[in-house]
Symmetry: C2
Subunit: 432 residues, 2 copies
Amino acid sequence: MSITRHLSEFAAETPTSRIPASALRMMQLSFLDWAAVGIAGRDEPVSRITRDMVLDEGGHPRASLIGHDARVPPRAAALSNGTTSHALDYDDTHFAHIGHPSVAVIPAALAVAEDLGADGAALQTAALIGVEASIRIGVWLGRSHYQTGFHQTATAGAFGAGLAAARLMGLDAQGCAMVLGLLATRASGLKSQFGTMGKPFNAGLAAANGVEAASLVARGFVANAEALESAQGFGPTHAGEKISSGLEGIGQEWLFESISHKFHACCHGLHAVLEAGLSLAPLDAGTIARIEVTTHPRWMTVCNQIAPMTGLGAKFSYGTVLAMQVLGHDTAVLDSYSDAVCADPAVQALRARVHVTADDSVAETATRLRVVLHDGTAHEATHDLNAPMTLEARQSKIQTKARSLLGDQRADAIWSLIAAQADAATFAATLK
Amino acid sequence: MSITRHLSEFAAETPTSRIPASALRMMQLSFLDWAAVGIAGRDEPVSRITRDMVLDEGGHPRASLIGHDARVPPRAAALSNGTTSHALDYDDTHFAHIGHPSVAVIPAALAVAEDLGADGAALQTAALIGVEASIRIGVWLGRSHYQTGFHQTATAGAFGAGLAAARLMGLDAQGCAMVLGLLATRASGLKSQFGTMGKPFNAGLAAANGVEAASLVARGFVANAEALESAQGFGPTHAGEKISSGLEGIGQEWLFESISHKFHACCHGLHAVLEAGLSLAPLDAGTIARIEVTTHPRWMTVCNQIAPMTGLGAKFSYGTVLAMQVLGHDTAVLDSYSDAVCADPAVQALRARVHVTADDSVAETATRLRVVLHDGTAHEATHDLNAPMTLEARQSKIQTKARSLLGDQRADAIWSLIAAQADAATFAATLK
């Protein structure tokens, strides 16, 4: 069966009753995570610029915006909310997909669901199907797609966003195939935007492309329904590896269940060592002689700044984040990463004692931590971000993150709506 | 100098006074051609679907739509009008760019110009700069980009549309570079949509992308301003050949002056032989023993249907279009290509006497025609679409085409506005 047919039947025909409770709960946790990082990012410059553009266009008030009380057409809301929710780069990641599924798919699903008056179960199911499809397409496109320079968040994300929108609109499998085919000529997004506003915008354009394609197909648009994979289709023209195993078990096995959430507001390369640090008993900085970090070589050029002097630099520095952690700064809080913390003599003294070594026998998702005290004793811990975590533990961590970003009351109110599967309009209204 | 800098300085800094009158007049002729084929295509299904979507979104009424009296935001108008004006595939073509410059650029320029209240000179200059830039980028991307499966109309077109919009907004060279950089992550479009509504939509998305990128940059958006050409930028990731000669002489030499217009409502591969036929004295079908056509091999699989029975098939048939021409059917008129004409015994008898031979010494843009009469005399003519044509001759042919599509009165009224450089809003209002 072709990948298009696999994905189309999956999107159109998977009964809600066949979705495992564990996958749905993971989706709900990603909704909370997405809402928290989106609201926290509402005033970033890229968020304001993109939102101002769609507000200036106006249009029928059908879909809510993060960070503003006006409503706009669904395609515009998807563009703005996708961009806003990726602005902090603090959203969920799937390592096999090689990208950020929720920031592309949830904004598309939510905008369409709100417009159509969908209930919470329909919204969450559509989003789950969309993120699952985007992960499958990301795997199918493969590492060569990413290495060539394409950004799966944007490319695979658009296809997932389109299927989420199509499911909410009630398109059948043929309609879903048409959405994928139309998106083949519309999907785009390059990694060469990393480090600029173009990176979060890649999530916004994916979400908007998905809403647009589903809206057009629902009106009768006829595209090449095989253009995702056909000769000169999206995969072949975009360095896709066409890894057919990416589709195996779709609808039975849910790759989205291995999604990763960020619990520290810094480069993902630093998260494993911070988790390792959390697993040790609290240490007094004065007792520490030396901190040894062993990590995968790829991170050495990414996040091993030795003595950064800015908050942004701190987010890419093993020494600084470990010193912050020992000294009691909350690494989940955005404002913890500041110029002031870099200038703090206590941080400087401690980070000077951090030594980072590369070892390619360590997985990219793992890091070893060894803390040697002045009395000669050593504490060791290793963490792999791919290590299983119970849903309960994950929920607790995401709720803590959401509370630190939004305050307890707002975070808990949003979680209550998600857990109760409140209708789309009610949930969307909490994002203002 | 980098291509980005070349193009940005060209777009931002070319004084209107330095633009040759011949280039400007060619742009005016393409405005007329664009308006005629756009209005004639307003009720095509893809035009209705795309227009209905943006009408359903609503928004501040700032830019006119082809075929409707409502106005919409500029980005939406560009999407709808770009699609509509390419719906008939009867718009202008540039063989070096490998695509259709006007349908991507004019809708973007017009929507922004109308929104800003620009005068006719500013509109026409911005559009000319946009189409020229898109042709240069098309050449720079090269044949490998096209052969891989990308559609220059959509890809190079988006960059040209963005520069046209940027010039109207008054962005400086740095701003123009930022627009190109942002478009590197947004531009898309595949040839695998040919034969579906996706092909005209590729023009619409190019126009909309251009308006969007310029609007965001005007608000302060920061992208990677080198992403058109940088490592993992648009060219390298999209099989671009990076043909630097594509930029040579920009601002001095205007490649747009070698634009081609379609004067027959059929496949471009048939135009040279129809022009050759027009150069012969009118012939009586009853006197013709045999018609010999010699053409480039690439056309044999494109437009050599022997005995089509539908109007669509007639558009891809040497024999049918030549028979139509001899028998007095106007090949410039859309309705001439009908099932009825294919069923006409006179057409069938004559097309049976047409013999087509491939010869790779004939240019792709040329065709040889030889008509042998029953009395043994022969009439021969050869036409190359790249042959020079005076501006006066071209104007006359485009006016004839516009009159046949819109009626004399409407065609002449539109041309009067263009020639007088009427302001953008007045010109746009004639497209309803």
